[in-house]
Amino acid sequence: MWKSYLTSAFRSFKNNRGFAAINILGLALGLTAFLLIIFYVSDELSYDRFNTKADRIYRVNEDLKFGNNEVFYAVSMAPLAQALKEDFPEVENAVRLKNAWSARIKKGDVTIRENKLAFADPSLFQVFTLPMIEGNAVTALKEPNTVVLTESTARKYFNSTQVLGRTLLFDDHLNYKVTGVIRDLPKTSHFNFDFFLSMSSLEESRENKWLRSNFSTYVLLKEGADVKQFEGALNGFLQRHSGAEVQAELKMTYSSFEKSGNYFRLNLIPLKDIHLKSNRTGELGPNSTVQYVYIFSAIAFFILLIACVNFMNLATARSANRAKEVGVRKVLGSSRSYLIAQFLTESILVTFMAAVLAFGAALFLLPLFNQLSGKEMAVSAQSFIWLLPLFIGLVLLIGVSAGAYPAFFLSAFQPIQVLKGKLSTGFKASGLRNFLVVFQFSISIFLIIGTLVIYKQLNYIRTKNLGYNRDQVVIVQNSYELNDQAKLFKQEVKRLPGVLNATLTGYLPTSNWHNTAMFYKDASLDSKRSLFPETWGVDEDYIDALGMTMASGRSFSKDMLTDSSGIIINESAAKFLDLKEPLNKTLFKSNGGERTESNTKAYHIIGVVKDFNFSSLRDNIGPVVLFLDANNGALSIRVKTTDLKKVMAQIEQTWKSISPNVPISVSFMDQDFDATYRSEQRIGRLFILFTTLAISIACLGLFGLAAFAAEQRSKEIGIRKILGASVPVIVRMLSVDFLKLVVLAIVIASPLAWFLMYKWLQDFAYRVQIQWWIIAIAGIAALLIAFLTISFQSVKAALSNPVKSLRSE
């Protein structure tokens, strides 16, 4: 019995090579896309799960509202970890991490700039699963100036992992002793460092300050601990510890602080949620969003659905051809269940072949897909533990669900009807088939519109007027290493031909530097009339060098001595302060400590700079206060030249003349900016890829249907031609039915796509409008693609020799 199912299935493929190929190819394409997305999604979902205690690890977040300002921090206070351990019995352990940003490390004669360093408490290895190859996991990070390296970092510096006791020279003056080597961090860790420096090396880590937040704090709860209860107790705990400081700094009790609408709270986020659900100030690395996981899962599902629909459509369309076979088999005594089993065998076989192709293609394409998606996914022998069941499951699920309808449909034919020729063997207009075509094209059009909107939004971000000019700005990232000579470096660079201007400060719209301070409208420091802006220390060339525009007032000037107490605020700060005429108004800032009027400093506003973007374009522009300061974090150089190489060489030469031993580290402002949006660009590219795939698969199905309709109607076409129908008339006749369905799909999909994309755009503070022409383009594109697909078949049929098609009947 099985053998007869299989042989007739194979014969049926052989005799209908074209349709079998379309079926298998379409399904294989869909499955390939599905698998790649599954890889992607499962990678996204697997973040931090390598930690054996992941279920019990939480990061402590801090929410702050003061005056008009709300900030959500991923970081918290230095004494928090220790205090949690002491106050709460359910806390088994706690660990702090602090980004150390960057260091120069000597390897023999060369100095290498490293950017993946963090300070960490010794408990790091008790909380996270970071297996040690060398060293003692308990004591490794206890002593000051000790460091634990990852395996590949150890090899990079020492060509070996047996490096306990060796030292590394940091920034030319600090020796760190290697006390441990751990395996490289999995790619699926939300933080990714090569060097873990002992927290005790950092003076700040011992400060008992509750109003400063600089540390990522993770707690490991005891087994069975009540998380809700623990989280609920955190605010009372915070009040106990920070009350005195609030009183001293803000001149109010904790409760009056809260009564005036402010808050200061701690909350928890499970470790496993950080990668997909956390987007706070001070994350240890860029995270992803769960939104994309949902969107891609939906796309994967839809692509598979489109491919299955092809399968069903072609099978039922071919039913006319198979009706005779069904009739004969039934007359010969086949029961309905035999026939159903036979057709299901066929569809499972097609699915199996498609799945083999798809798994092969997915594995083959994985490196390419990695490049596109910025991931480092790999398939190992272990992956087959879940790939194999997935394979079998998919084959059965798709084979049965796509084959079920044709199987039941075909097997229900009445034999005499068929044999008498009563069952119209023409291309029956089937309601279901039409519905499925509309369904497929609705999804395709939806995806086209979605892609266009996303593409347009991403393009908008890239080209938006940001309030500063990021083109032709070279940034020397490590000017601070010149110490006092940074100023000299700036003067020398400004003199170079091709250099228009330069500004010395680490506070840049594209940098990660953040500093905040409280400003008050009144000398009495009334917090109701306060502003909590970013405070950026800049020099007098800042506005000009970065190409910012003044809305009113003037920029800082070297010649005005009073400018040391002058500030420039951005438009947003003026709005926050509710100042109609901000120029020459005075703002007050506490000097810290005793909060008396004599202990405040007055600043007058000398200018208002037009708003410029400095965080993500997803967020609104917050208030910024610029003041004159000798910050030497980085030197941003505006150049105007056709020979950038030459100017760069000269800048480097200037650097070398001042500091021959320290290598210069440069970047370009536009590239720094693009880096901020790299993940969004990637998502955009993936979107385009999958949309193209979805449309191709839908068209493949349409191609098959059109071919089939043309074949079925070949006799009719022949007669019409003999009667004098022209080729265009016949092409129109064959195309119109399908195109009507595509038009219907446009009508259905457009409003839906418009609505959902509109919602997506709400996430961006700066966003494009969805214009009517986006929908028009999507509709016309779908119609055009469909028309080309169909007319290929129609024209072929219309051009064929009518005598031939008639003789064969």
Binding site: S12, N15, V328, R329, L332, G333, I416, L419
Partner: protein, 228 residues
């Protein structure tokens, strides 16, 4: 073995009934070879289909092999047709995807006959019909006469009690037609297969022992032939 009494078949067209078979009665004994003739549209195929249990009458009584067929359920009737009937069609109706061998074998598969037994049965009939050399060919590679030969072999493979043939020679030239008729005669005489055939050819009809003429769904005349 077969008795039809006051059998009618009609179709509802608008308000009035169109009779295809009208109060028709017919008895066929085991071992008979009956030819049905009549103009196109007179109801020959309909009658044959009803006898073959592929179609149901609208009214009347239908007995076959001692069973009251008109009282049977769908399932029972199809089991009965599987066990007793063999069909031969004007258009052969071979399965294009299967070889000659497999086409002949198919009814046996549906009757759950074991593989080794199937082999023997098919080999036997291929031999009898002299088509052993064609067993691996597909229907499209055969002439019309050869295809009909395969069709008959397939109809006979499960040893039916009754062979039903609807214009079996309609698509064949007269020489091929004669061969098929000789074969029917031999099957009827030597193997005792009961045969009911529909034909347009007086000459072919005379191979049978009885000729029934249908007109407008009624038996217009019936004549018994005495061959010696």
């Amino acid at each position: 073995m077969l008795s039809l009494q006051h059998l009618s078949k009609y179709y509802q067209a608008g308000g009035n009934k169109t009779f295809v078979l009208n109060d028709l009665s017919l008895d066929v004994d085991e071992g008979e070879f009956v030819s049905i003739m009549g103009p196109s549209g007179s109801g020959k195929s309909t009658l044959l289909n009803i006898i073959g249990l592929l179609d149901e009458p609208s009214e009347g009584y239908h007995y076959f092999a001692g069973e009251a067929v008109h009282l049977l359920k769908e399932k029972q009737r199809s089991a009965m047709s599987r066990g007793y009937m063999g069909y031969v069609f004007q258009a052969y109706h071979l399965i294009d995807e299967l070889t000659v061998y497999e086409n002949i074998e198919t009814p046996l598969i549906y009757q759950n006959i074991k593989g080794s037994e199937r082999k023997a049965l098919v080999a036997d009939i291929l031999d009898r019909f002299n088509i052993v050399g064609k067993k691996d060919l597909f229907p499209s590679q055969l002439s019309g006469g050869q295809q009909q030969l395969v069709g008959i072999a397939r109809a006979l493979i499960a040893k039916p009690k009754l062979l039903l043939a609807d214009e079996p020679t309609g698509n064949l030239n007269s020489k091929q037609g004669d061969e098929i008729m000789e074969l029917f005669l031999k099957l009827n005489r030597e193997d005792g297969v009961t045969i009911i055939q529909v034909t347009h050819s007086e000459k072919n009809a005379e191979y049978g022992n009885r000729i029934i003429n249908l007109l407008d769904g009624k038996i217009e005349s019936s004549r018994v032939l005495n061959h010696q």
